[in-house]
């Protein structure tokens, strides 16, 4: 069982009062409790079960502009006392940093909590096994699926309390239901794997098992017997599960920490045209039941909605208290990063997009970590499907795609097929003229 707010509050109070007693001028604390249960199935047979109960506390103490943190999973009072001692001792010898402080009191969240982020539905292990077996059954009904890498179902419930010595104390429960199915297809000596994944706060919102299994199978079969193509300059279509990665890259490039340090290719680009004029990017924390929704960030600051890109122009950064001070900006509640980050829909349909050029390469998977936030260079391994005259023709693999994000961002056209499946979401994306490395 996850712990209730009263229990979390008791732990928080012990740590906060002890820190004060030992001489800290300020302190903030996060106490978390979570329980997760996961079931794994492979080839329609139970492969494993996992149950985890986690408790944890993170305490940050301040002495004026000095700061130190401790974290622990051992919440026995004797251990907590020892750790607070240690935190205070370290804090005293840590150099001052003029930007250290608790967040601005005026920005603390206070309001209604009506976003529906917790579903108390509990599935028995049997029900979880049945769900995921049904997904695998469906995948295996495709005769090219010969094996699975494992499929799983997970249910996670958590509760937390965030408190600080300025009087903030709030927390809430969240839930997450997750299922994935990863299958292996085989034909003519070629073996490929692919997956489908669904994760929602409410059990009723996740994909039905049959959908999960059939989509996974379809993905894996479409990759069979790939060709390697010649190196060339070609326009790419990014599948939705890849196009959203560009939003994550964008988010890290406009984090106030990167902006303050100057370690991003988007430094000094505020109010400038970063994308073409048709592109709008929003970050909204107040979408009901959505994966990325939250009331406040890890400092207790209320989330406001941000129009990060409007008609291609960069309007804002993602700002927390510490880095905000460095760049003379107030926090906008993004100490924990983005919330529900998305591109607004474009004006073309998916079908118009894939017919927009005679030859296009549809990218379904990228591998590697080839993104350089500092200068915008982008180079990753990829696989996908060649599109000729608007028709998917043959799978392609063992290629690289490369470019610079400054150019890529200017050359994006979006379809109108946005869905809120994850916390970061994008429609299908067309990027003109990227370099494919192949034969």
């Amino acid at each position: 069982m996850i712990k209730d707010q009263a229990y979390l509050k008791k732990i928080a109070d012990i740590c906060l009062s002890k820190s004060k007693k030992l001489g800290s001028t300020d302190a903030s604390i996060l106490v978390q409790s979570s329980v997760s249960e996961n079931i794994n199935v492979r080839n329609k047979k139970l492969d494993g079960s996992e149950r985890s109960e986690n408790l944890g506390v993170v305490l940050t103490t301040y002495l004026g502009k000095k700061k130190s943190s401790i974290a622990s999973s051992n919440l026995k009072e004797s251990n907590l006392n020892e750790l607070v001692d240690r935190c205070i001792e370290t804090m005293k010898i840590t150099p001052e940093d003029e930007y250290n402080s608790l967040p601005d009191k005026d920005l603390h969240f206070s309001g209604l909590k009506d976003l529906d982020l917790y579903d108390e539905t509990h599935l028995s292990n049997e029900d979880k096994i049945n769900y995921i077996k049904e997904a695998e059954d469906e995948a295996f009904s495709n005769n090219k699926i010969v094996n699975t890498n494992g499929s799983g179902f997970g249910e996670n419930k958590s509760n937390f309390l965030l408190a600080n010595s300025n009087g903030f104390a709030d927390g809430y429960k969240t839930s997450q239901f997750t299922a994935y199915c990863e299958v292996v297809s085989k034909s003519n000596g070629s073996m490929e794997r692919d997956y489908e994944y669904t994760s929602k706060r409410f059990y009723n919102d996740i994909l039905k098992p049959k959908q999960l299994g059939s989509i996974a199978a379809e993905h894996a079969v479409k990759k069979l017997n790939p060709k390697k193509i010649k190196s060339e300059k070609i326009s790419l279509i990014f599948d939705k599960r890849i196009s959203k990665n560009f939003l994550s890259i964008f988010a890290s490039a406009i984090s106030s920490s990167a902006i303050a340090k100057g370690t991003t290719f988007l430094k000094d680009k505020l109010n400038q045209k970063v994308f073409n004029t048709e592109i709008n990017i929003n970050d909204r924390g107040d979408i009901k039941k959505a994966n990325g929704s939250r009331y406040f960030d890890s400092e207790g600051i209320g989330i406001i909605n941000l129009d990060l890109i409007k008609n291609g122009i960069l309007q804002d950064y993602l700002i927390d208290t510490y880095n905000g001070k460095k760049i003379n900006r107030k926090s906008n509640g993004r100490a924990s990063g983005t919330t529900n980050l998305y591109f607004e829909n474009g004006s073309k349909t998916f079908s118009e997009l894939i017919k927009s050029e005679k030859k296009l390469l549809y990218i379904k998977e990228t591998i590697g970590h080839g993104t350089n936030i500092i200068n915008g260079d982008y180079s990753v391994g990829a696989s996908g499907i060649m599109i000729e005259n608007g028709e998917f023709s043959y799978p392609v693999s063992e290629i690289t795609i490369a470019g610079n994000l400054n150019n890529i961002f200017q050359n994006i056209t979006l379809a109108d097929d946005l869905e809120f499946n994850y916390s970061t979401n994008s429609p299908t994306m067309h990027v003109e003229g990227m370099i494919v490395g192949g034969k």
Binding site: R42, K45, L46, G48, S49, E50, R51, S52, E53, N54, K67, S68, S69, A71, S72, S73, N74, N79, L83, R86, C87, T90, I93, T94, P95, D97, N125, N147, N149, V184, M191, E192, K223, S231, E232, K233, A260, K261, G262, T263, I367, G368, H369, G370, I374, N375, S379, V380, G381, S383, S397, E398, T400, A402, G403, N404, I435, G437, G438, K439
Partner: protein, 470 residues
């Protein structure tokens, strides 16, 4: 020996009783108790940005029968909590019954000292040294615009309680020193990253002004890249430098030789034992027994002593890396590769220090033999798709080779290859085998574990380079 349970509400006797009673009718399993202390100090943007200390104590209780694994973990160490876990394991395995295999090898292996690297250097001296590194790196050139330096130290004590009361333990120190330097010249920005570490005290790595070498190297890489030109795209010959570039070996074949993927027949290598998978002269081992290395362990996380496992010998595939579960199901013995990130994670076959042994060629010969290609000296991360065998890694320092000579530095590019075929494309194996500086973390199924790699210089006939220059 005093058990990690000493100060908890759960006595060792009670724990033994619950473990034996739960695992009696299972094939395998154990109670794994872990007490980890870790400290991270980060200097960033001219300031000590954070000092974090973490203390984590918890258990993971595992029961295995046939190929089904039941796992329950918690950081509430009490009889009640362990009984709950026991009930949970029993309910998962209620339709299975097995015979407990109590056999486990013993060892007196001592590959690192039982030290506490967090306490052995004072906070004051750590902060002072980080400040020195910052000042030294910034003093190297006025083009240095940003410096991030960090110290990470950990002491992980583990205890494994098996059915029948057998108790195995290991105390594992680990440190890592990281340096990142950003230079800016003529409107261009590039970074250089370098780090060192292993299972000894900080001072073993930092003494004799060794910390300056860490700064020098990070600056050198950044400064080289500031002059880099766009990388070529397409297939070409690649010369790899010795040491850290062995993450190529780790990605190209290492993961594909882990027992679980082969037992499940999802690895491109599963039916290739005894077959030629690499050029003659290529021998690859996974060695958990090298003193003080990041990937070394006295015993693995199931209690099996680690060993030096030959994976590929003179081009022929010999062995997979096994944990107890996959070894049992494949009728072989664990090679001591059963690892987990922490008590919150299930055991899987994982690499330790994965190394290609040296050959006879010189790096000079290799470069001389290339008309058009690239010379890759250092890498960032890599990744592999086990099933298709495709793997990538990202160059962080590379040069073009033209007519047998090393030319201009080129921009960071991804290299992509095919695991089962790329090792057959190795044309020369160097005589300069080198281990990496002690910085690797391998990710698999969401779990990160410290690993090492090593290799000599290599000449590879054909790899695809992900540049922008056609």
């Amino acid at each position: 020996m005093t058990s990690l349970l000493k100060n908890s509400e759960l006595s060792l006797e009670k724990a033994d009783k619950i473990v034996s009673e739960t695992l009696n009718s299972c094939d395998d399993g154990e109670l794994y108790v872990e007490d980890t202390k870790s400290e991270t100090i980060v200097l960033d943007d001219n300031k000590i940005k954070s000092s974090n200390y973490t203390s984590d104590l918890g258990y993971g209780f595992r029961a295995v029968t046939g190929d089904t694994v039941a796992y329950s973990h918690s950081n509430e160490i009490s009889e009640k909590s362990l009984k709950n876990s026991s009930d949970n394991l029993k309910s998962t395995l209620k339709n299975n019954s097995g015979t407990y295999n109590s056999e486990i090898k013993k060892t007196n292996q001592k590959l690192y000292k039982d030290i506490d690297p967090i306490e052995s250097k004072s906070m004051k001296s750590k902060i002072e040294l980080l400040n020195n590194m910052n000042e030294y790196a910034r003093s190297k050139d006025s083009s240095v615009k940003q410096v991030t330096a960090s110290f990470l130290a950990e002491k992980k004590n583990i205890e494994i309680i098996r059915s029948g009361g057998e108790l195995l333990s290991d105390n594992r120190p680990l440190v890592r020193i990281n340096m990142s330097v950003m230079v800016e010249k003529n409107g261009r920005k590039e970074t250089g990253v370098y780090g060192i570490g292993g299972r000894q005290d900080y001072d073993e790595y930092l003494k004799n002004d060794n910390w300056k070498k860490v700064c020098d190297e990070a600056f050198r890489i950044a400064n080289t890249n500031i002059e880099s030109k766009p990388s070529p795209a397409g297939e070409m010959k690649v010369v790899l430098g010795p040491g850290w570039p062995a993450i190529l070996i780790h990605e190209a074949v290492g993961h594909g030789l882990e027992g679980d993927f082969n037992r499940k027949k999802t690895s491109a290598f599963h039916d290739l034992v005894g077959k030629k998978v690499a050029s003659k002269g290529v021998t690859i081992i996974d060695d958990g027994t090298i003193d003080n290395r990041r990937g070394s362990l006295n015993i693995d996380d199931e209690g099996t002593p680690t060993e030096r496992t030959v994976l590929i010998e003179d081009g022929i595939l010999k062995n997979f890396m096994q944990d107890r579960l996959n070894a049992r199901l494949m009728n072989t013995k664990s090679t001591g590769n059963g690892r987990r990130e922490s008590y919150k994670h299930v055991v899987m076959p994982r690499m330790r220090n994965t190394i290609m042994l040296g050959g006879t060629n010189t790096q000079e010969e290799m470069i001389k033999s290339v008309d058009k290609g690239i010379f890759a000296v250092s890498f960032g991360g890599g990744q592999v798709d086990i099933t298709s065998g495709k793997f990538v890694f990202n160059c962080t320092e590379a040069y073009e080779i033209i007519n047998g000579k090393v030319g201009a530095p080129i921009k960071g590019a991804t290299l992509i290859g095919d695991g089962p075929s790329s090792l057959k494309e190795i044309l020369m194996v160097g005589n300069d085998m080198m281990l990496d500086p002690g910085i690797g973390t391998c990710g698999k199924a969401g779990q990160g574990v410290p690993v090492g790699v090593g290799q000599p210089s290599l000449l590879i006939n054909n790899m695809t380079v992900g540049g922008t220059q056609l």
